[in-house]
Symmetry: C3
Subunit: 419 residues, 3 copies
């Protein structure tokens, strides 16, 4: 297997061995950068960044990565305004032109599955810089790199994911990768903000056991943390979506909040066992109304008191930008890893670019698992209103066959039950 010429749209596009090849090369890139060595591995190569949504870290670090490799960059920082999309051009047409100019394309787009659609129309590697609420695979590469570099390994580490796990695309890619690398995963999300069904379905394949909590309340008066008990996993009791969101959703049995004395003990137990606390911002731009998020955001906040209870060697991670969920007072703690984490974006993306362009060849024996597309799904549509197949008229729906009754969208991974 080679990574040259490949796309990276979902973290599942790469096998574990391939991910490790990227991380290993990132280590080499990192030490070359530190020594001030100039790398001209990609001289004469052209990277395109095509961003239909705002970005600071992803676009910047890709562009710097390419420059550090000796390559050049053409930037579409606000493609929704500055490109022909403003004249009504489709994603496919845009890519079919740009693939003739670029050697590699990084694309961010608000529609789920949009970058997969782009990749289908490109003969040069397309890297997703995030597609809607779906995935953000290069963020995951640098998250894995951070854990491996600062905790020595990923396997067996205990990682808590806190915040908006439903709409956070970084978390979607990350939780899959963590499951594949056999980390212990704890999810802490308010009701309605838990992992979406399609992610749970993908996780099943890796026999991942999720420990889940419904809420991480704000520090209570006496300095203890109120944590809701693990909710009973009632995977079988499937019910209809509870209106207003337009999406099918699992029922969640709400448990009573236990008294805080009990909680304190429990929380200590939990925090003492966590190697990584990964926080995420509420994805306001993906919420139907702003109100929904308001309450949820209030209950998510890491601050000094929570830090005091955490292990001395825990990592506090965050994909950034943060809003209220991560207090500024945490920044001065040595466990705060999020700015270092952002910084790793450059060597990790250098490694990825170099491998996809074939400038460096990785020794990898096993590629990603091939999943077969479902046949005879004519007329079936993806139920995700933000799926690219519901927005671009020429994009035909395609599905993976999960089981005889269940399909998963080829573009956005949402589940469709067929009767």
């Amino acid at each position: 297997m080679t990574l040259a010429g490949r796309h990276l749209i979902s973290i599942n596009d790469f096998s574990n061995e391939e991910i490790e090849a990227v991380l290993n090369l990132a280590d080499e890139m990192s030490s070359a950068l530190e020594k001030g060595k100039r790398l001209e591995l990609c001289q004469g190569k052209e990277l395109y960044t095509v961003f239909y949504e705002p970005s600071t870290r992803t676009r910047s670090s890709f562009e710097t990565a390419m420059h550090r490799l000796g390559g050049t960059v053409v930037s579409h920082a606000e493609a929704q305004v500055t490109s022909s999309v403003a004249k009504g051009e489709s994603i496919a047409d845009t890519i079919r032109v740009l693939e003739r100019y670029a050697d590699v394309i990084v694309m961010r787009h608000p529609l789920d599955g949009s970058t997969r659609l782009a990749a289908e129309h490109s003969s040069v590697p397309v890297i997703s810089g995030g597609d809607g609420a779906h995935e953000h695979p290069t963020q995951t590469l640098l998250d894995l790199y951070t854990i491996r570099k600062e905790k020595g390994a990923i396997r067996g580490k205990s990682v808590a994911l806190c915040g908006d796990l439903r709409h956070g695309r970084t978390v979607h890619s990350l939780v899959i990768a963590l499951a594949r690398f056999e980390a212990k995963i704890t999810c802490i999300a308010p009701p309605d903000f838990g992992l979406p069904d399609h992610i749970r379905d993908i996780l099943k394949a890796y026999r991942c056991k999720l420990t889940e909590y419904e809420s991480l309340e704000d520090i209570v008066a006496e300095g203890s943390l109120v944590l809701h008990q693990p909710r009973v996993e009632s995977r079988e009791s499937r019910v209809e979506s509870r209106g207003g969101r337009g999406t099918p959703e699992r029922s969640v049995s709400r448990l009573q909040t236990p008294n805080s004395r009990l909680q304190t003990g429990f929380m200590s137990f939990l925090l003492e066992n966590l190697d990584v606390l990964y926080f995420t911002r509420l994805q306001r731009e993906r919420l139907p109304t702003r109100e929904i998020g308001g309450a949820a955001e209030e209950s998510y906040r890491i601050n000094r008191q929570l830090l005091e209870k955490s292990r001395d060697d825990a990592l506090i991670m965050h994909p950034l930008p943060r809003t209220g969920e991560l207090a500024y007072e945490v920044d001065h703690d040595k466990r705060a890893a999020y700015f270092r984490q952002a910084g790793y974006g450059v060597p990790v993306r250098m490694a990825l670019i170099a491998l996809l362009l074939g400038a460096v060849e990785a020794r990898v024996s096993e590629g990603p698992k091939e999943t077969k597309l479902a046949k005879d799904v004519c007329g079936v549509r993806c139920l995700n209103p933000r799926c690219v197949t519901n927005a671009e008229c020429y994009a035909a729906a395609k599905f993976y066959q999960v089981n005889p009754q269940l399909l998963r969208c080829y573009y956005c991974d949402w589940m469709v039950r067929v009767v």
Copy 2:
């Protein structure tokens, strides 16, 4: 004659020999690119892209062209917002500063003649990336390159231009060039969307005979194409503009649509003789209201049925972006040349940049024809409401003397009759 230091605002700024010099060098650039040879012809040179309108292809391919030549780029992708124009700066002032930073400037602007005005104030080459509804000369260079490369020559080829020929700046430059290279030109445009008068005037000088049709109706039920008969060219019967558009316009005598049986035969004859079908999008952004375009757009569409009637070796071209006029089903046909056409943008623009910067010297004996400016035109104003002279207060109107009664605007080429 040398191309070094010259501007390219109108396709008529270059002689035929000079255009061929660009196309020949583009061939060399193209094969160098294919061999992966690095060209460092423009090392140390700085290209500025200054775009006041959205662009995917033009800006990108210029920037990639410069990178492939070893040069560097400063990009103003949304100059109307991000530059001092937002503080009220004039075109002249902007250029008089940028010419001190750049070695060559590519500019796109919504006003007709704006790039000519810019060129007047610049000591470094200014290349138009499109000025309003006026011209788009570098698109024409790559259109000519496409025809020459894929059909072997331009001279004598039969080219049909279909769509919004009034507002489409790419067509304006192209039809002039086709006339100069003695192609056979067929224009197919709905009423009010035909070539504007000033283009017809320029064409006259090249003794070009236009064959014109008023409408290319959608495929009728029985699969035949309804084509209106050529309209009688009543060039002498000049009447006043028919209100609402604010522009002087020739009267057009509407003919009855012949029955479709007749049409089918005629269409076959037509299609069998066409080497190139060049489609263009309705320029919604240049229309006074959106409604006008609605109907016109409906009657323009190339699809599989039309393709079946066309010659096996015909080229379907389109400057892109497309909207409804070009069905996705056409993409898979080998005659569909539009993505290849877009791809030629890089070698053609590399050739142009290298020649204007003097990095390569073309052996050209004849330059463009010099046309004299009219004297004693004090007080005469251009009638084009989108002409740069009607928007920038310091820009004085200038005209070419077509004949004792007729002037042509130096900036936007619109005609003014003097009494």
Copy 3:
């Protein structure tokens, strides 16, 4: 002292000797550029431009400067829209990420003191490209370079600053520098548009005597210029702010306009003694309402008549963009230096970048004066509504102790009287 690794936020961050080191190196850069010599001093280095406000000259000339030095650039031309700021990110967080990607950062932001805040959070040099109405130090470097190059020296030259001296950040940096280099300074500004108090306070330290006029009226019928007499400097008679502006302000005793005969003589005297007339645009974007400015703008205009009265060897300067205050007819006069002035932006910024990156080492014995921060100012807030400390919640107010009753904001230099 070395300039390597230093920030440039206020012109007072550099000593006179350091400013001269930049100007001397700019001279070398300039002649290298003229000879077409390639400089690869900053090869492998990455410059970030992060602009939250429109810019033509500053961003462009920094990017070109970096390219001419062999370095690379990542551009955020409209950071308020395209970066994570659109998701609510703070200045500190943005910089703490970008400092891990960039080798040097140029930032423009609408809040006063914002770039100082950025510099506090960056381990790589931050250069201010203008912060609100506060300062624009690199414009000042090129202004000084222009005067020195075209008038031979700065010391002893007679410089008039005309226009909106209150809101014009370029003037704020410049007047301080002129005072430090012992130029003779004349300020001509309409009432309410004079230099702000904090600038006057800084000037005091350099024992600078300002000559000030309240208005430069439009040319009167007989071709004479109406100039108000110098106002009595009543520095002691401090009164409360005159409402509506929300800012503390000195009282100004209005004098009667003398008759124009007297004026004519006086004006001639004035113009005959001026080496430099520096005009500035009304900073509409910093005014509470547009009306206030309307009248003021009317009274500021340099045109041919004024030029005729000026010295043959005077320099007309302007930081650009201009609006109505500088007539186009002035452009053709040899004294019009403003486009040359803009052009000097490239060599001056090349010199600055090379010095801050340590690519060139300047021999400088004396650094800038250190001023001590005030202690025990808990609870004191800056009175400037546009100060970054009043917008970014985590930014704690800091002050310099001017005297026991007077503080000056560390970020925006506004004065606060403590009781």
